[in-house]
């Protein structure tokens, strides 16, 4: 994307909807999808005389995030009012944190093709979401739905450390995985639980100063994020190459036309008149709370991936896929616990059959019809050679479709491998007798003929013979008859 001679500089502001039952300053439910204005209480619709009361669960989530990115947790932070008029902003101000956010600093490591990159975080602060303006549904009017008003958000601000749309997406994906991993966000991007504003500027390669930036608002998919940054960078580079100048402004990305369009210029920018909200005392966070949350923190994706590599001798590729989410990693560890090891076998089945089946069905691993215990039941039979790998795939399919146990499928279909040496030798002898031509070919050096003979034996066993055993017996017999 980036043209030679230009560097793209991106910083992201990510609005992460915190997973709490009630809103950040009221007791109304945060559940998604209710009929308009049915989840807006007196506080949310800003009736005269109503007051905000801070939701402790939201504070704890913010602290969890701070701990996860190694940030400073400010022991005292302050809620401020951001004043502006808009119909879906009921109080005429948004309660946010301005000068003193709860989380300051920290970093997120992202994996890039070129290796790991550390993206510095500026801050993360608590704030409330606004409602929704519904412009389409009413002719000549605008509808207001305040169900979302007061939903807790953690706005996570990165430093301008990202150098391409691809890096921005890698950062956003890593951040998304992290907030879901630590349980503070449901990660549902369609429902708006994770949305990014991108600050984009360009500069000549080697220039130390940052160019004038534009902010692209409300990008709610990784694809839109990537496309918007790519478009915006190209637009700015073309503008500068033609001798123009970038105007600092807020822009909107239009996915239909794949372009960004100006929303408001710097001159039109609001003066938000921030000041400390006198309805809320400064937020004081005690050491005990931080320590309790620290003790309860799950092992983080990064650490778990590295441990998987180390402890289970997995490749970096395998371990990063197995730690794509906490549910995947938990599944894997539950599986190898059941198997008493066999991590390579477990990894290859999870990343092979299981992953493919989940993808086909569009199912999350949490909802997998085959859980770790039942998959272990199958893999035990693979490991002890009760069934062949080929048969195992059929058993998996039957388990998946009919929710059966592995042993039940194996018994019902009679899929146990023939491991009785005498029986296999008998089959081999019969096949050798019936296929003189292939035996000759093999002896004249055509290795392929051997495989055909194995296939014949397997066919004769109706798949129940162990291929390894058939191999060994065949080699022995062919050598002896020589």
């Amino acid at each position: 994307m980036s043209r030679s001679g230009w560097e793209v500089v991106v910083g992201l502001e990510t609005h992460t909807q915190l997973r709490t039952r009630s809103k950040v300053f009221s007791g109304a439910s945060t559940a998604f999808g209710a009929a308009p204005n049915t989840q807006a209480c007196a506080v949310d619709i800003a009736l005269p005389g109503t007051l905000p009361v801070l939701n402790r669960a939201a504070v704890e989530h913010a602290i969890r995030f701070g701990l996860a990115v190694d940030a400073a947790i400010n022991r005292r932070s302050v809620f401020a009012r951001k004043n502006y008029f808009y119909p879906d902003l009921p109080k005429g101000y948004q309660i946010s944190q301005y000068e003193l956010p709860i989380v300051q600093g920290g970093e997120l490591r992202i994996a890039l093709e070129a290796g790991e990159k550390r993206v510095r975080l500026t801050r993360a602060h608590l704030e409330e979401d606004a409602g929704k303006s519904l412009h389409e549904d009413f002719h000549g009017m605008t509808g207001i739905d305040l169900n979302r008003a007061g939903t807790p958000l953690l706005e996570i601000v990165s430093e301008p450390d990202l150098r391409s749309a691809a890096e921005a997406v890698a950062y956003a994906r890593a951040l998304h995985a992290l907030v879901v991993w630590i349980g503070i966000c449901d990660g549902n991007m369609q429902e708006g639980s994770f949305r990014c504003d991108a600050n984009v500027s360009v500069r000549r390669a080697g220039d130390a100063r940052l160019g004038t930036r534009c902010e692209i608002k409300n990008l709610n998919s990784f694809r839109f994020l990537e496309r918007a940054i790519e478009f915006e960078a190209r637009r700015q580079i073309e503008l500068l190459e033609e001798g123009g100048a970038v105007a600092q402004e807020t822009r909107l990305y239009d996915p239909e036309r794949d372009e960004t369009r100006p929303m408001r210029t710097k001159e039109e920018a609001h003066d938000y008149r921030y000041f400390p909200d006198p309805d809320l005392m400064p937020l004081v966070v005690g050491e005990e709370l931080i320590e309790r949350l620290r003790a309860d923190m799950p092992e983080l994706p990064e650490a778990r991936r590295k441990r998987f590599e180390r402890e289970y001798a997995l490749s970096q590729y395998e371990s990063s896929l197995l730690t794509q989410s906490r549910a995947w990693a938990d599944f894997f560890e539950a599986l190898i616990k059941q198997l008493g090891g066999l991590q390579k076998l477990a990894a290859s089945w999870m990343l092979g059959e299981l992953s493919a089946a989940l993808n086909r069905g569009g199912i999350d691993i949490e909802a997998s019809p085959i859980d770790a215990e039942r998959l272990a039941g199958l893999l035990k039979r693979v490991h002890d050679n009760t069934i062949s790998g080929r048969a195992a795939k059929d058993v998996f399919e039957a388990m998946w479709n009919d929710r059966l146990e592995a042993d039940a499928v194996i018994d019902a279909r009679g899929l146990q491998q023939i491991s009785d040496a005498g029986a296999i030798e008998k089959l081999v002898d019969e096949v050798l007798a019936a296929n003189r031509r292939q035996v000759e070919d093999y002896r004249s050096g055509k290795e392929r003929a051997f495989n055909a003979l194995v296939g014949q034996v397997m066919k004769a066993s109706r798949g129940k013979a162990s291929p390894a055993q058939v191999n060994a017996v065949l080699r022995r017999r062919l050598a002896r008859n020589e």
Binding site: A42, I45, A46, L47, P48, G49, T50, L51, P52, V53, L54, R81, N83, F85, P87, P90, K91, G92, Y93, I144, D271, R273, Y274, F275, P278, D279, L280, M281
Partner: protein
């Protein structure tokens, strides 16, 4: 009935307990008095007789069951700033002239729970912004001492309801003096509690870090009884203080011999009317005669209090009043071209001049480039004012002075001179800047026969002490029992 209307809450409580009078009879007497006087005084915006009488009947039944509490059956008038379910709650503004609240303020709930009767909703300066009760959309409140005069404000309707003997007691709110100054100007008692003692839940906000609800009544003992109902922790207000429940009437007869009364020289300087000075000094002399010691103290930042207040309170108000945008409730302009025009016309029509002035001032002092010079600077000075008090309370137990530098002034005489109007608050503004409790009780009359208020300010949580000191004074004086000349019983 006339003696009932002039009775204190304790006396009314005794009458009700002895069943010599019912709450229905008492309520009816108040309603009749309101019907006779309100057209002239304009103290009430809403009086719902049916509701009041229903409350009274319920109170009588409750008493019949032997479940009466201290204020069961007592009619109370509420400032129209407290949200009242199913009732108009206007805040004295056209903006809320159609607003029927779907919920009760904490203060309303508290009175409801103890079985008090909701007599009506009192007129006030629009959104509590004013010192004369002239800025109401419903017209000015008039003084029962002289209908050409203001009753003070912003809780002028509540003060007049009590002074005119239309209600035995009332609630008000005090941001920069809105309980104490009208109490002083109408010859009744008013207490502004320590910030955080009374929940602000359901109190339509003017300046959140100052607003505090409090009682207005005929005597200090009555104020204590009302405080026992109003005060208490409420989780719905994050600035509500979590403290054990206290009895504000526990110390009504304190020993005055050990009392040190601080007299700030700044409260007795120039600009105080001679009649006011004389009455206040006489009251101080009475305390000295009881053995109290008058101690000169200094509150050097007193003159900064007014400018500091008139930066901070409008700043908060400009933001608090943003919710009145015509979108969800309240007034909305009938005609508008687009969204910006809807906002502009709605607010231009819905707010009066004083409210607009303060929104403009507040918006200005919070604006980019002015915030540091005005808002932040004022916050620093606010702390200095608080420090002055802390230093003074090292040397004295209470600070005494006039509540207002002057007695009531003529309606219309200061409306075009906001600075003169604001200076009226010079002695009432410092306490809320520091979050301190302060009360005003009548201490005499000036040469024109108008009531003068004595203000007592104490350290945080010293309400019971202040009320006790005031009660002792009222045991020896009858200023607080004088019925206004224009509204004889």
């Amino acid at each position: 009935m006339s003696s009932l209307l002039n009775a204190t809450l304790a006396e009314l409580g005794a009458e009700l307990a002895a069943k010599r009078v019912s709450s229905v009879e008492l309520t009816r007497a108040c309603l009749e008095r309101i019907a006779a006087l309100n057209a002239g005084l304009n103290a009430f915006i809403t009086v719902d007789e049916a509701r009041a009488l229903a409350d009274a009947r319920r109170a009588d039944e409750r008493r019949g069951r032997g479940e009466a509490a201290a204020l069961t059956g007592i009619p109370i008038a509420h400032k129209d700033i407290f949200c009242t379910r199913g009732m108009l709650t206007t805040c004295g503004s056209r903006m809320l002239a159609n607003f029927v609240s779907p919920y009760d303020a904490h203060v309303i709930e508290q009175f409801d729970a103890c079985g008090a009767v909701l007599l009506g909703k009192c007129n006030m300066d629009e959104f509590a912004m004013g010192s004369s009760s002239e800025t109401s959309y419903y017209g000015p409140v008039r003084s029962p001492w002289d209908r050409g005069l203001v009753p003070g404000g912003s809780s002028g309707g509540s003060a007049v309801a009590v002074a005119g003997r239309m209600a035995p007691a009332a609630t008000g709110t005090d941001t920069g003096g809105s309980i104490r100054q009208p109490a002083a100007l109408t010859g009744v008692c008013g207490l502004k509690p320590t910030y955080g003692l009374v929940s602000r839940y359901g109190l339509v906000a003017f300046a959140s870090s100052f607003d505090q609800a409090g009682p207005i009544a005929k005597s200090a003992a009555d104020l204590a009884a009302l405080m026992n109902v109003m005060a208490g922790f409420d989780a719905r207000d994050s600035t509500s203080l979590e403290r054990p429940k206290e009895d504000y009437a526990r110390d009504l007869n304190p020993d005055l011999a050990t009392l040190r009364i601080g007299l700030p020289k700044e409260y007795f300087g120039e600009g105080i009317e001679p009649g006011v000075r004389r009455a206040v000094e006489e009251a101080v002399r009475w305390f000295e005669a009881q053995g109290a010691r008058a101690v000169p103290v200094e509150l050097p930042n007193t003159e900064l209090a007014v400018p500091v207040y008139y930066v901070l309170a409008p700043a908060e108000a400009s933001s608090n009043l943003s919710r009145f945008d015509g979108v969800r409730y309240g007034h909305r302009a009938a005609q508008y071209a687009d969204l910006a025009d809807m906002y502009a016309r709605t607010r231009a029509e819905g707010f009066g001049a004083e409210v607009k002035r303060r929104i403009l001032v507040g918006t200005y002092v919070l604006s980019h480039g002015y915030y540091d010079a005005y808002y932040l600077q004022a916050q620093k000075l606010r702390r200095l004012v608080a420090r002055d008090f802390a230093a003074a309370f090292e040397r004295c137990d209470v600070i005494a002075g006039p509540t207002s530098p002057a007695t009531a002034f003529a309606i219309g005489s200061k409306v075009d001179d906001p600075v003169q109007m604001y200076l009226n608050d010079i002695f009432t503004i410092p306490a809320p800047l520091a979050g301190l409790p302060a009360l005003s009780i009548p201490c005499g009359f000036d040469g024109k026969g108008l009531p003068v208020g004595l203000q007592l300010t104490g350290p945080h949580f010293s309400e019971a002490r202040l009320l006790g000191i005031a009660h002792r004074y009222q045991q020896a004086s009858d200023w607080h029992l004088r019925v206004p000349s224009e509204t004889p019983l």
